[in-house]
Amino acid sequence: MSTIRVRAVSSGDTTVVQSLIQHPMDSGFVKNKKTGKLIPPHHIEVLEFVHGGKTVFTALWGPAVSKNPYVKFAFKGAKKGDEIKVSWVDNEGQSDTLTAKIG
């Protein structure tokens, strides 16, 4: 299953996009309760939204973004039925991508 959930809804010329991503977003400041050692930072760095070949929103995230991160933004020029592609890359080089239909 993808780590990415996205809800994109068009109303008139504006599409509101909400995305929730499953990711620990470890800050590097929290200790493992059992071992007492710091859990290394592991967080998404770049999150990108692309519509019609054009990047419509880019998020540059650090370790202070909450676990299972969420973002909401809005853009013009899309309509119901269009596709929006969501991709992220984290500081360990892991990544995921998902293409969703705009409703």
Binding site: F29, P40, T55, V56, F57, A74, K76
Partner: protein
């Protein structure tokens, strides 16, 4: 998986960065292995590593945008007065300023001041809602880049239960 070529000096900087983040002397062998393993994964392309290392507003803005900012009343910063829990603070920024190309959110009392920066291309609204961690009570600063200039608005959010694992 995204693979990137790794220059030796970059790996060296990554190891130093890893040590700084953990900030604990006397790391064991297992820790070093973990750090080195991490160090070999390069940061994502376009990620402003330097800006994310800064510890105050001025240095973040300098590293991110190379500019200073002035206050604006055309930025709506929506953040709670008292955070339910510092681990998940819903914060939203909206601006009526013209030609917005970027929004960033700074929390000076966090270990690193910059929490998130957003690129707003033409056709995208000057608005973002997200959920951020706050280590303790702090000013939250919304930065908006409008027509090449930087503007800010801020609000203090009280945090009783810290978001960095307290």
């Amino acid at each position: 998986m995204i693979q990137s070529p790794d220059a030796p000096d970059r790996a060296r900087r990554m190891i130093l960065k890893g040590a700084a983040v953990c900030g604990v002397a006397g790391l064991g062998l297992a820790d070093m292995t973990l750090l080195i393993g991490q160090a070999l994964a390069a940061d994502a392309k376009g990620w402003p590593a330097e800006a994310f290392k800064q510890k105050n507003e001025a240095d973040v803005l300098k590293a991110l945008y190379g500019k200073t900012a002035t206050a604006s009343d055309k930025i709506a910063l929506d953040a709670p007065e008292i955070a339910e829990n510092g681990a998940v603070v819903p914060i939203a920024v909206k601006s009526s300023l013209p030609k917005v190309t970027a929004i960033a959110i700074l929390i000076p009392h966090n270990p690193y001041t910059l929490t998130a920066a957003y690129k707003i291309p033409e056709g995208t609204e000057a608005m973002v809602a997200n959920r951020l961690k706050m280590a303790k009570t702090s000013k939250v600063i919304a930065v908006v880049e409008s027509d090449g200039k930087l503007y800010t608005a801020s609000k203090t959010v009280k945090v009783t239960v810290g978001g960095c694992g307290g």
